[in-house]
Symmetry: C2
Subunit: 522 residues, 2 copies
């Protein structure tokens, strides 16, 4: 016990005299301390474009890139009263449903409000089924509050609800809550899994196969992680379908300079809108099995299928139905989100991933990595719960929920068809069917003289086109070069989220702009 | 126009015959396709502890580490009716106020509920000042909805409110909303800035100076980024104060093997609870200026100062008061959060960072990097707004808000004193004053025989101690080895968040455990 007593060092209460204990009570004290320090000149900055992380510098993210900055500038100019040939900027660059006027699903927001301010649980203005959901979520939260951290993997009962949803969706293929990880939107899940997967140096550096065109989260994260991007091209002539022969080509060529280890799939496609056939998914899974690739299935548009002849098939379900040698071997992570579908709750940053056949130790590593950021936003987790556990027939809120859901999805289907049809009436624009998701990615003809003009401005030709479109019409779309496209082809991505009358106006304006553009640079 | 027409490729509507267009309608179709594929044996996994990202593997995060996993196991055992010498696990490992029973600030949750479900704006049950805040936030959101993405840097009016708060806090030192970035908790801001800062290979790899003991987010992110961790030791004998001579030693030694470029400060300290004097902050800023270090000031406990002789001084304010050669030169990022203070809204993952003297191009790079993850949760941004823009005297909700705030902070101050006093009554425990934050980090004497027993279990001695404490009392605290400590010294971190009566019981149990432990291993 003597050694223990020796531990008690010099006590250092606030009044103690140590060099740091004395309190300076005024700014003047600071000033006097400075008098001994010589004046010096302006110092170079430490963090500069030259000294910064080169991987971060290399990141590109077109969906919020230069065209969107320009849109912001134009909005400010309009606010300042500067005259333009239009009165508002229409931000068709991003899949942000509620910003485009889509109303939130009432039931979801009722449950969220009840969770946020539990006094409302006594209010007669809220339906009982919403209260029941809210009570269940709160009971699973520390201190019965959305304000507590959750487990890093997410709130237990919400992971259970996700597993039950996946099981229903996949016609009974079992899902284990232990394989469900709630995330801060799908982007967070995708970048977390990629972060764990990337390793090796030189020719053994991890190669990540991504579709071209792709959603630029993938190329951005690959760049951040200094992994190797391996492109496989989707077949525009065939509705942007994935061709396994093209995958094979990409892997074979990549083996010369990296270790292709991860295959990313976006289905329904972003920006293409393509919905993969069951046969295609089988072929991809077989290929992943054969080539020893870890599968990432970005399935955030799983509720957004419009073509009557298309159906969403989850990679998980197809994997299981292909039999045990696949279902017990192929490593798969699939992603979903609150941001898309019919709820469009982008701001809550909710999402989940399901991992299949992950090495048990890797599951521990994943939880450890997630725990560094503590937990995903608990409000986003609650939103995810309502997405996977909506009102069912017989419940008080079912009818209204169903009506709201069908209205959103019905509108999107109508707008998908309208967009395809109108674009295809314009000479020099070709638009594949929008089978799903919420974007058109039409191919545009850009005349040689316009290509030259773009080069003179040091711009990609489709960036030049989109900038002109923005400046002349106020419509903000993203050039195809931000998603990737075959050399010499040009596209843009436009959301179909504006309300139908506004969308018609947008399409008409694009048409007029395009005709004038062709004339001008003919 | 002929070339334009040629663009229109083979149309590929859902009924088209291409190899991917044909729809397989049943699982059986998949099964038949498999018949041509030979059966193969069990495949090795692609993602294994050997093949995974070694930087991620090296990450440690003690606050949610093995001791917390063990706590979860014990909770399950208690639920299953297994008898223990205690009836509940007390999670004193993490600063999770509401999980420990702290009630949310009513006003904050009222505004959040109104933003979530705007129908409530018509309800007479909500005060007008809360409605005013909610309307202002919603007007600044796309489609007037929390469900839209915000700008990647955060909602404009919330950044303006943060800037106004910082200006008030710092006695008029100006803050520019353009320098404010809303984040997903402080952790997100810290890791984003570090991600931009890290560069170079070999001996020019970026070195990041962190205090020991530290909050393990820092070591974890440094490991993820493959940067070089440079330790500077806080002075336990002097209330865990920061000594610039020790900083100087650390930088000098680091220069042999890396490029020390970043200096991280945690004030008030986590886990130490130390509140830095103004003089200390001046010295640190001068040192950063001299040594060309980018300053990171983690100030999430800025509202948590309890010692009557201590005061929080922000690095920003001191920097400005030191005169233009500092204020126009030293690069600084400071961080705040909704999770700590008196509101304890951890689950919303709200936070902000303010950057000073950042290179203009780096600001663009930062926005680009943030835009890849789209935006911080908008609900967390709204929570941050209420933290920086609470009710003021004269407003309807002021009195209740003020009462709730003072109650939380008064309780924490009382518990800080209680904890220090009770720990210091225990032979073999020495606890510095808890000047701020929400943790005690007492030094514990571990007898030689206990150290040997720990070694036999391949555990750090303080991990062994904390495991025994957990197993015998149900109290979950984090070993000092998870935060770093001088070789041969042992500590643990315990939150002071349990309600006062429970905290007294906890402290008594720790005392009893400690005495028995000393006896047993004497």
């Amino acid at each position: 016990m003597q050694r223990a007593a020796a531990l008690v060092g010099r006590r250092c209460g606030p009044g103690a005299p140590g060099p740091w204990g004395r309190r300076r009570s005024s700014a003047a004290a600071g000033a006097s301390a400075l008098q001994v320090r010589p004046a010096r000149g302006r110092r170079e900055r430490i963090l500069t474009p030259e000294s910064m992380n080169p991987q971060v510098k290399a990141v590109e993210y077109a969906v919020r890139g230069p065209i969107v900055l320009k849109a912001g500038e134009i909005e400010l100019e309009l606010q300042r009263g500067i005259k333009k040939p239009f009165t508002e900027v229409i931000r068709a660059n991003i899949g942000d449903a509620q910003a485009m006027g889509q109303q939130p699903i009432t039931f979801l927001r009722q449950v969220m409000a009840l969770c946020t301010y539990p006094n409302l649980l006594d209010s007669p203005s809220f339906p009982e089924d919403a209260k029941k959901r809210a009570r269940r979520i709160l009971q699973a939260c520390g201190g019965n509050s959305l304000g507590s951290y959750s487990a890093s993997q997410g709130v237990n009962c919400i992971r259970e609800d996700v597993a039950a949803y996946v099981t229903r969706r996949d016609g009974g293929v079992p899902a284990d809550p232990d394989n469900i990880y709630l995330t801060t939107g799908a982007s967070d899940g995708i970048s977390t899994i990629l972060k764990i997967l990337v390793s090796g140096g030189g020719k053994s550096r991890t190669g990540v196969l991504i579709p071209i065109p792709q959603y630029p989260l993938y190329s951005a994260v690959i760049s951040e992680l200094d992994a190797i991007q391996v492109n496989y091209y989707l077949d525009e002539e065939n509705c942007w379908a994935l061709d396994v022969n093209e995958l094979r080509r990409a892997v074979q060529e990549a083996k010369d300079h990296c270790n292709p280890k991860v295959l990313c799939i976006i289905n329904p496609g972003n920006p293409t809108g393509q919905v993969q056939s069951r046969k295609c998914i089988e072929d991809v899974i077989h290929f992943a099995w054969e080539e020893k690739l870890f599968l990432l299935a970005d399935e955030v548009y799983q509720d957004n299928v419009y073509s009557p002849d298309c159906r969403f098939h989850s990679f998980k379900k197809v994997l299981y139905e292909m039999g045990p040698e696949y279902s017990s071997n192929v490593e798969l992570a699939s992603f979903h989100s609150t941001s898309k579908g019919y709820m469009g709750e982008c701001g809550y940053r909710g999402g989940y991933m399901e991992v299949i056949n992950l090495h048990p130790e890797i599951k521990g590593q994943l939880v450890k990595l997630l725990s560094v950021r503590l937990c995903p936003p608990v409000s986003g987790q609650a939103a995810m719960d309502i997405v996977v556990n909506p009102p069912v027939p017989g419940e008080e809120s079912y009818e209204q929920f169903h009506r709201e859901k069908e209205s959103v999805l019905g509108n999107l289907a109508a707008k998908a068809k309208l967009t395809e049809d109108l674009f295809n009436q314009v000479p020099g624009i070709h638009c594949n069917p929008l089978q799903g998701a919420m974007y058109a990615f039409p191919r545009i003809f850009i005349p040689g003289r316009a290509v030259e003009a773009a080069q003179a401005h040091e711009m990609a030709p489709d960036m030049f086109y989109c900038m002109k479109l923005l400046e002349e019409t106020g419509i903000c779309v993203v050039p195809g070069s931000g998603f990737g496209q075959r050399e010499g082809t040009y596209h843009f991505r436009m959301t179909i989220l504006p309300p139908v009358e506004k969308l018609k106006t947008v399409l008409q304006k694009v048409k007029d702009f395009h005709m004038t553009f062709l004339d001008k640079y003919a």
